[in-house]
């Protein structure tokens, strides 16, 4: 379970995360939506311990993430897999080395076991025979799938997907969302999906959190968000422009 309480983050004098409170129950997939600059990716990075908030608390499976040391953070991060918005593939490593990296870091497996697991995942994401390629030899969609494979290879109980379909065509976006849905269907994984692609997210998330200007303005299921009478919520969900 992820519990975020009274989290504030300032950039200069601007409050970019403004008193966020959120509970994500075990085994659910939450869609974090909102306009650009609303603070979605930043909130996700705060949850992952990559950005330190100015105040507040973030509990990951009962462990406080804010203000803890590197050693404690190591055990928290070993529970988290993350798909980054900008791919974040190590450009000096091959596809095989990139995907196998989390397993090598965790240790306890032979090179052959890691290679087998990488090959199995590459088939699952429909990227066979790409083991020896470098990230600069891949298309955007292929990079996203490699990033996805790297995020899930260690079977982490918590997954953060930061804009998994950014910059992709609708067909490739559909493939990525199908992978996310497949992962959710397996059960047991708590995940947050940050995306602007409302249409793609509708069917793969258990609930939705709408952010604007660093605040949570709505939180609920798909039915609740569709039934909302608040103009901003309705407009954003349906993708309508302001009058």
């Amino acid at each position: 379970m992820i519990r975020i309480a009274e989290v504030y983050k300032y950039r200069g004098h601007e409050c970019v995360i403004n008193g966020v409170n959120l509970v994500i129950p075990q085994g659910t997939q939450v869609g974090l939506i909102g306009p650009g600059g609303a603070g979605k990716s930043l909130l996700m990075k705060i949850c992952a311990g990559l950005v330190r908030p100015d105040s507040g608390s973030v509990l990951i499976d009962g462990t406080e993430v804010v203000g803890i040391g590197d050693v404690e953070m190591t055990s928290v991060r070993s529970k988290i897999g993350m798909l980054f918005q900008n791919y974040a593939l190590f450009d000096f490593m091959t596809v095989e080395e990139n995907i196998g990296f989390p397993l090598r870091q965790l240790g306890g497996r032979t090179e052959e076991e890691i290679r087998d697991e990488v090959n199995r995942l590459l088939l699952a994401v429909d990227l066979p025979n790409t083991q020896k390629l470098f990230p600069n030899e891949l298309s955007g969609g292929m990079k996203k799938r490699v990033t996805f494979a790297r995020a899930v290879i260690a079977n982490p109980p918590i997954l953060f997907y930061d804009d998994p379909t950014a910059g992709l065509d609708p067909v490739t976006s559909g493939k990525i969302f199908a992978l996310l849905e497949e992962r959710r269907a397996r059960g047991g994984t708590t995940s947050i999906v940050v995306s602007h692609d409302i249409l793609g997210m509708r069917d793969i998330c258990d609930s939705f959190v709408l952010m604007d200007h660093g605040r949570i303005v709505f939180s609920g299921t798909r039915e609740q968000i569709e039934a909302s009478t608040r103009p901003f919520v309705g407009q954003f969900w349906r993708g309508e422009a302001d009058d």
Partner: protein
């Protein structure tokens, strides 16, 4: 300055305002120096901790050493010729005797020019490379990805560059010394007709010169990658952030080399040459 800061500053007394103005200048400098020291101390901590990525150390050695070799040789080669040409003319006019020129030149190369000019060349070539590489890894979230996989970025990225730089700065300084001496000897022989055997004179060289040469090469080899890595790790934003990081790396590394040169020359004078 934001409106909030402007209002805050306007409410200060003249003395407080002067202190605040000092803070505007010194706080970023102190913050940066503190961060460089933090990166440096962590790099040394991880340099003695397994695992060391030896393959990456070798690749970085190739990048720092082999790829900088031609640049360093050309610069130091021409510098050697210019130094002997100019100093030879002056010496001929004032003293008229050029017999001791080789011995003095060799001492000068050991004490000053070979390690320091090499380091200044490396600060531009290697410093920018390291800052740009690490900076672009920061802005493309690769450094965050390392952290998420419990790989410490300083151990993973800075330590191989530090180890490679320590070795290759020393090696390049030795090469630079030989090249500058050789080109200087060529000019002395062709322009001033100084015999090669006369020019090659090690009588003024002392152990202190060798120690100062080695100390300088070691100090520069440590300083340049640490300053460049700190600049890269502090990069933010997009390509503009990477550009700022590379500029910062060259400026800071060149400044550090110059200040270290002054300090180590002083140390050499106190311990060996006074």
């Amino acid at each position: 300055m934001t409106k909030h800061t402007q209002a805050y500053v306007a409410a200060l007394s003249p003395t407080q305002r002067r202190i605040a103005q000092l803070g505007v200048v010194f706080v970023p400098i102190v913050t940066q120096i503190t961060d460089i020291l933090r990166v440096g101390s962590l790099a040394f901590y991880y340099a003695f901790k397994k695992p060391i990525r030896w393959r990456e150390v070798l690749q970085q050695s190739f990048f720092i050493g082999n790829r900088s070799l031609a640049f360093v040789m050309i610069v130091l080669g021409f510098l050697g010729m210019i130094l002997i040409f100019q100093s030879g003319f002056q010496a001929k006019r004032i003293v008229g005797d050029l017999q001791g020129m080789g011995a003095l030149y060799l001492q000068l190369l050991f004490r000053e020019f070979a390690p320091t000019v090499t380091a200044l060349m490396l600060a531009t070539r290697v410093g920018t490379g390291i800052a740009a590489e690490i900076g672009s890894m920061v802005v493309t979230e690769q450094v965050d990805a390392l952290r998420m996989n419990n790989a410490e970025p300083i151990q993973y990225l800075v330590v191989p560059r530090l180890l490679a730089s320590i070795v290759m700065t020393f090696v390049l300084s030795c090469v630079a010394l030989c090249v500058a001496f050789g080109t200087g000897m060529f000019v002395a022989n062709t322009v001033f007709e100084v015999n090669v055997a006369t020019f090659y004179n090690t009588s003024l060289l002392e152990w202190g010169d060798l120690i100062i040469f080695s100390l300088k090469a070691l100090a520069y080899g440590i300083t340049i990658p640490i300053i460049a890595s700190q600049a890269g790790l502090a990069a933010f934003g997009g390509s503009e952030g990477v550009g700022t990081a590379t500029t910062m790396a060259v400026v800071n590394a060149s400044l550090a080399v110059t200040i270290l040169d002054f300090v180590l020359s002083g140390v050499g004078y106190i311990f060996f040459f006074s």
